[in-house]
Symmetry: D2
Subunit: 340 residues, 4 copies
């Protein structure tokens, strides 16, 4: 950590800070700049205390942490890609995957027909929520166990591995029985109890970025999962909260490029939830491919207008076909394998 | 809901939208403005479907929802204050409460000495975390059950009711045994499974606003609790995430005034977490009193510099005494009862 | 405009609001919903008064404007593309343009060598600031008139049309003499006096989105220019201000797709300023092409490390060559003409 | 500046960075931490180059600037208050001032009646816009020169000093002739040409915080003014842009407390523009007093409903009287002089 002192500290001031620094387990190293005096504090920041308390000393102006707190998933520590295996699929930089399916599982018929269609169109994983976290308690919350049963049946029928969301620690076991990948949604992205529970099932985890998570928080949330001995993590950018209201969230594609520099984990993009409007899903998906994403998560429904949730952003079968056709040349350009 | 059509719709366009609207359970009512055609849709929005799907029709420009989705806690439905009873305390607009204590329970000695001091200085509830949600998995996560035990002992000793955070559904019973008020933190503010679990314990719930929750989301989170038959909710503003980095969060005092217009529930303010720096806690607390808050939640520690978390924002005993003296005349001005 | 009343209004309440509405030039049309009473107000919102004042009536809950305020540049009014001609160049959906050059004009040598290199690499316009708006008054503010002279000479030498920023109304004439396109920067994006002055020169204007402008504000700023009889406007997305600090701004590529639905004006992207770091410029540029941008604005400098501004984001000649090679296949995929 | 290297740099890596650092005018000082290697760079950051370019070296992880760039207005350099004199008024920490008046000057009658009323109610300065920066080019833009004439007449009649906004460099002289304080609005807060022009008139400047300005940017904007030899600056917080839509902007009262630690300049608060709704103006004004503001800027109009701008947030005379009565006891508590 670096401590910046206020202008013109006395030797006494400097000594006071140095003593505090030593007391907290660091070796202080004082540098007298032309304008500022700075005390560099040598020590392992993951083990020694946080020095921010020193901000309360009158002569301290700033405390700047240096060390990054994630390491199990860090590219600095693990420079190689960290692929995730889902059954026979290998999710890594060599291939491009589309996860598609309805926002919510509503019925066998709806889910099965969607699964068949998306599979035949080139999707390699099926998504569908049995548990839906909804902003209003009066909105449809998912079919729960019945939804899981439908997903299991559809998986048996189509062979598509299933991605489904976990919203309660109490459902972890039941969800893990059916899910090939457990999804953690944006609202639970900093719910560390749930992250830990999901990790402990041993299933790969698709971790959405929180509504307003920084890259640092997102990576540390992934580190919570890895710390349970489960490094099978797919990160998923889904837009962040900003002042702009033309889209439901602001898709942060810089984050995809930036986060790939920090970690070897695969990074997906969910353009449906980011935009919240169908007309932007295809252009944003193309952009996601071009920025370097490893896959996409999109919503497809046989009859979106009568869907029980997210009616404005689910694609019909026809639109999904056009969507896959629309991203295909961009995926080809990246030289990645794909199933469409 | 109101549907705004694009410029110059044909009669056919209008009929198409009207048919869809009826199909979804609403009665359409078309108005031809000087510039825009608008279709007002009559129906109960908590029961009929969301009309946003109609955005995908080529002639639709905007869909605007009208009805608010919270009602159990709404001032429109319940114009009177909704006071919360905690043991003998009545938290309402007539009194002003200070909840004080350490960020985390670290030891019996630390917690008991703090409790005694804050009680004698006029705090009416004790705060202290046995479970701490931390951004990094390598940071101190709280003493857990041992921390709860300490809180129970300190409560027995001092008589101060206890406010403590719940971070996992699995701990709800254990926490509810000790807690007089269960706190839901900002990171879990949209964790509906946890909100439901907390509500079902029957304990009053102190619900912090999420890191980037809108007022609407915050009130709907409270509605989740109320829907379980538990209307004993204290809302707590703790700053929102913005681009400004001079403070850890941006304390949104407008929200306190605005939310009190929407609901009769008591609203507290946590100036410690909002600012993340000690020098702003007193001025922000005074402002919170002046804007109409019903109470404050602050952090006090016998030795903040050696605290295991939040070192930069916990007050020493001396500073807390000054703090209480500093807010006292402002509280008196509001004519509310207080214990300091 | 739509006025939503509070729950259970009396007939008297409704009459009061209707009277106010008429008084302000609208025809009220009252609809009694199942839950809410809504008064639709028929009238041209660009001519009649804003009804927001009615929010101060006790029975009014919300006032919702319907009509968009931009029309000269609106796709609803002008469904066709609105191409911009710059000398022989036609900037429209049929071609893709790269505007490249140094952040600031520093010398004849630096500007000329850059211009020659970027032209030969396929850039069709030269950028370079003679006037630099800098956050600190102690940073390099540009060469001013001397910089304009250099730009004029380099244009004469290379034939590349020049894009340069206007920061003061007093320089409009001098800048317009040299500039083929006048740039309005993000900090001045809502400086309506400057927009008007730039428009009146008759030169095409490249209008960056403001630091935190909504799409609506951005388009209305363009409308200010168009209202002066100058419809030659290139919009340029350059990232918005958010809480995320991993990048200098958050590039909002959804905005590119969304704004193209609202207007036929060309939309460019500036990935250099958005990211503020060189390693993200190429992936973001590819994404910008894929999302549908009509061109890119990037910074190139013969020796970025010794540049007088924006050292971290200017490309060397070699990097620019790789950059052009990197975007080329993506541009080809869109079927647009290009010069590289 | 501090340069943080990536993990495990070679001695060669370190030498490379050190050479670059020296080349840019700094003395490097390398520290080998337990985990990270850090190179502290000694030198005056206002004169030497920005080291951010080094981010492009493969072994560099982060570049952290240390030195603050404002000094003329900095409390570190000038620990004492920097009061502003406006005629006989002295704006400083000893007194509390209310600036009141209509959003826009609409007529002699409207302005004079308002001025008389607010003076008699205790306001010490009159506000009123002759030039109005409006988001839409179709909205009322102010009376211009006629508005200035009215302000001059009203000042002659009432003796109230006048605060009015400057929106164009070309009007600086005319505005300065009438204005006792020149206001720079939020949209022009980073319009450095206008700041410079305003400063050069020699008039005190009321500088609003930009729509999304950081404290650092706001203070540097003030430094632009001070650098022209004009230290008579009143800072004015008016809310920042966030995701929250319940209020027009989010009033950042932490900023008031925080900025007063950085500078001795007076800091005012504009609760009307922040909230954009009348019902929050009084509670926010009380909070502003309590947090330590030196004054308030509010809008008063004889007939807000028929005002030509900002109808939803201007107070009637009666409401203004209640407003002054409402803040009075809070101002008294601070021990400041006041005229109401």
């Amino acid at each position: 950590m670096i401590i910046v002192l206020k202008l013109n500290p006395t030797p006494e001031d400097v000594r006071t800070v140095e003593d505090h620094v030593r007391d907290l387990g660091y070796a202080p190293h004082t540098l007298n700049g032309e304008v500022r005096t700075v005390i560099a504090c040598i020590g392992d920041e993951t083990h020694h205390a946080d020095l921010h308390a020193l901000l309360n000393l009158p002569m301290v102006s700033e405390v700047i942490p240096i060390q990054k707190k994630f390491k199990l998933i860090s590219r600095e520590v693990h420079p190689d890609p960290m692929p995730v295996s889902v059954g026979d699929l290998r999710i890594s930089g060599d291939s491009f995957h589309v996860i598609a399916g309805p926002c919510a599982v509503e019925s066998m018929e709806q889910t099965l027909s969607t699964a068949r269609f998306v599979k035949q169109s080139g999707a390699t994983l099926l998504r569908g929520g049995a548990y839906k976290p909804r902003t209003s308690p009066y909105d449809f919350q998912g079919l729960g166990r019945d939804g899981l049963k439908i997903l299991a049946d559809v998986k048996a029928e189509t062979g598509l591995p299933v991605v489904t969301e976990l919203v309660s620690e109490r459902d972890a076991e039941a969800v893990a029985e059916v899910a090939d990948v457990i999804q953690i949604g944006a609202r639970n992205a900093l719910n560390y109890a749930l992250l830990t529970e999901a990790a402990q099932t041993g299933r790969p985890v698709l971790l959405k970025r929180g509504l307003s998570s920084t890259l640092q928080e997102w990576l540390l949330a992934a580190e919570y999962i890895a710390k349970q001995g489960n490094p099978n993590i797919i990160l998923c950018e889904r837009g962040i909260r900003t002042y702009e209201t033309a889209t439901r969230n602001t898709l942060d594609l810089s984050a995809v490029a930036a986060v790939k520099r920090e970690t070897g984990l695969p990074v997906f993009v969910d353009p449906s939830h980011a935009a919240g409007r169908l007309d932007l899903v295809l252009p944003l998906a193309r952009a996601a491919v071009a920025v370097g994403a490893d896959g996409l998560l999109v919503e497809v429904h046989p009859d979106p207008e009568h869907a029980l949730s997210d009616q404005a952003q689910q694609m019909t079968f026809d639109v999904f076909r056009e969507f896959v056709d629309g991203i295909k040349p961009y995926v080809q350009l990246t030289g990645r394998d794909h199933a469409f």
